[in-house]
Symmetry: D2
Subunit: 287 residues, 4 copies
């Protein structure tokens, strides 16, 4: 069991009365991710709600802010009890046996146009042995071809753009890997959160995007950008792609500053401090 | 109350053993659409399941077919008890009050890239009075600019393509209207089914795509292609866009023939025959 | 006759030896644009050539620079003797009579995908009276729908992107107008230069992109962005679209600063100072 | 010296009076392609012109046809005296020494968006030894990744689409190879014509699209689709991409039938019959 303590501070300047915000900045409740304690402080005295999406478990903070500064502080301690398995024992699930609620994740979405990549996926991955290792091959294919580079992509960039321009940030790596999995008839989804252990060379800590792939009855973690230690990922939201799980969706004229984010490993309930580390095992926190 | 009787026959030639099919050809169960009776006949003696998606109510028929002909016959009698309201009494729901399960329908999707249309939507519809009439304006804007024409679009065509090339079929009209609604922060979804009363000039009866828009607590029907009588629509599936609700998703080498579809109005439980007609009221079968 | 005096200073930091530059920063020689005097100063003592493209009259300065600062100063005095005509007397040239060397300008190009806009152009402009006024209608259509806004487009943006996102800078306005002209079978080309009389609200003077349209045997000036006085345009280059006439094409690792540009009207050979002004006449400096 | 005799028959049904046609179906005059004899027969008695573009040598047949059938028969005997060289002796031309009239062929065009492929080209080909062999590597890269398949692309398909969907016809192979050459700063152009020796498995003989690349002072032939024997190519037109050199550009409502094309090797002026054959030498008919 790993316990991570994270904090994040978001800062906005609201220029239009009653600007609406939908945040996805709460640690998700999953079968293997438990929120031990958390706090939320908002500098404006406005009504706010936190709703949980019954399908995904995403938690959404919603509020309408008045003109002026808006500041959100969130802290949480999160316990991760990863399901770990040997990669060679994790099979793909044939389409015929995919649960109904998973089917949506083999269809194309806004930023993951898997429908255009069937031939490419078939040529590159079609002959590979089915199972976790095939997904790992897809993950490595993306990691090798795409260069991590800021300011080469924007919020409009899709998996196809990334494939063509061969550069991007974590979000772009995730979209391309997802599109290639779906084009191989393997369900894959976009996941956001905070990652422990990121190399400071990547700049100040930011929200992270990674991938969960449905195999052998669970959702397994992959980080195609290679910037995170998968064991150190705290999940906030999961969806089809970035269109579903922006950390903040804003309706109104609002200026923003970069988020300030921290995360550290702390001692768990048993007093032991366990650090996330790179492992060869397959990891899941959901399913 | 309107009772419609529909039948459809699908015919395939399966060239690969264990080809998988996911059909969405069952009339949906909604608060105002009731399936009075139905039958399903499949010429192959294979196991089949019909599952209902808890979120959308879509019903999915799944089966694995053997090599050779595969034929599916479905018939149903469906009662529609439309909620009808005066358009001027139907308000938009402010973003702040949109239910969590509706939020996904304001985000962009594979074929409805609303994120790229905010400025256009703002200029064209931003000054319009909020409510049903604004959505009607969007529907009419699409209907006036797009020409109904077969073979001008394909399964890869999106709302943006339709906006540029100004031609398409019902699916393309629906995608563009949905994208413009979402770009105006109005939830909209893609709906498929069979429509009663289509002009024979459009050719043999086919599956139809139309739009449901979330207003005043319910999903209201719009047919931007202008080919259907909204009161005569029987719903099969609803989703983000065509990526979610193909009437048949096929995994394997399979040849297909055009579907054969019939629909007629019949007398209801009270012995009265009520025909769908064009009305100025707002209509909903869900919500 | 108008005489304009312009100067421009370009400043680079060359980080790779033998970096290659192709500049298109010389005032073009056309039938009605005469370079009275000009000077070119380059801070590096490297061989340089100035070539004139026989087809377009574009003049290209080419050089290979050493590591370190590279600075280019260009000044010129240019006489413009516009051909002016009443718009109602300028007819379109039927395709059958277009000169061979003009034909290329009705075909689509990198940023002007006119092949996808035939239906839209036909619906919007097909019923308009042929001639200068139809082109003016196209120009106004673009000017009204597109908002001038920096940082909404980039070097990858095309006419289609501009049509969808309804915002851009002079280059984007030009691409969209060109695409719509070509989709109407009217030859149009992308022209770059410096414009006199730009409103300081648009920021420091920069290179300008505008449109020349082939009508009645000559190329007529249009400024869809509305930021320039057409009579005050000094032409540098002309081509299919921005892909052909970048003011600087650079091969190598080079940093750059914004150009510093000035232009003023001065007294001509006859001692008279004539200022460019907005006129209703059709204007041409070529043909 | 190879002498090829070709014939082609084009057949249209003109439904609109004064429909305009621009054909590029004459064998080009190049330094090494000589038209020994040719004939053109048009079934309608209408004025026609054949113009030669001074820059490319493309020959354009132009005419306005009356309502009714339009039939064009063209035959020619063409002598090809290929320049042949050992591949290892053919160097690339540094950008700094590219002739002005060649520069346009390193810029992106409608169907060859080389500007988006710089990183990909750098990663795949940047470390290769410069010269003919690098271009051969690009050609082979395309040939290996793209599957020849009809009905997978259309007239709107670009190099980017082909790269993504990994299938197409000769035109698509050519666009992708051209885009990758330009992204590597190697001038490349789109060439059309008739190819001798095509495998009947590809169906009835059709117009062919291939690539010419500028190396060591000349334009060298490449056939990325692998369907032709480069020595058997008779050139009709050359341009930036397919937008420039359609074999027929039609203005008006016109129906068309597939072209009927034949080509055979015949004895030359010296009475010798030389057959085109696959060779390892680099081949050029221009420059």
């Amino acid at each position: 069991m790993i316990r991570l303590r994270l904090s994040l501070a978001l800062s906005y300047e609201v220029n239009e009365p009653d600007s609406n915000f939908i945040f996805n900045i709460h640690a998700a409740h999953t079968s293997r991710q438990t929120v031990v304690d958390e706090s939320l402080v908002v500098n404006q005295l406005v009504p706010l709600t936190v709703e949980t999406d019954p399908t995904t478990g995403n938690r959404y903070l919603r509020l309408s802010a008045a003109t002026g500064p808006l500041q959100i502080f969130y802290t949480a301690s999160v316990d991760l009890t990863h399901y770990m398995a040997a990669p060679e024992q994790i099979a793909e699930v044939p389409v015929a046996r995919l649960p109904a609620q998973v089917l949506g994740y083999i269809y194309p979405s806004r930023y993951c146009q898997s429908d255009r990549l069937y031939r490419l996926a078939m040529r590159e991955f079609g002959q590979r042995q089915q199972g976790y290792s095939r997904v790992q091959t897809i993950r490595d294919w993306v990691a090798q071809r795409i260069t991590y580079a800021k300011n080469t992509s924007d919020s409009n960039s899709s998996a196809i753009d990334t494939l063509i321009e061969t550069a991007g940030v974590c979000r772009d790596f995730a979209h391309l890997m997802i599109a290639l999995c779906r084009a191989s008839n393997i369900p894959a989804r976009f996941t956001t959160g905070i990652n422990y252990g990121v190399d400071p060379a990547y700049g100040p800590l930011d929200f992270h995007a990674y991938v969960e792939v449905y195999l052998a009855g669970g959702w397994y973690l992959f980080d195609p950008s290679g910037t995170a230690i998968p064991m150190g990922l705290v999940r906030f939201g999961t969806g089809r792609d970035a269109a579903d799980v922006a950390f903040a969706t804003i309706f109104g004229e609002v200026g923003s500053s970069p988020p300030v984010i921290n995360i550290e490993a702390i001692a768990g309930a048993d007093g032991l401090l366990v650090m996330p580390q790179l492992v060869h095992s397959a990891l899941s926190t959901d399913g």
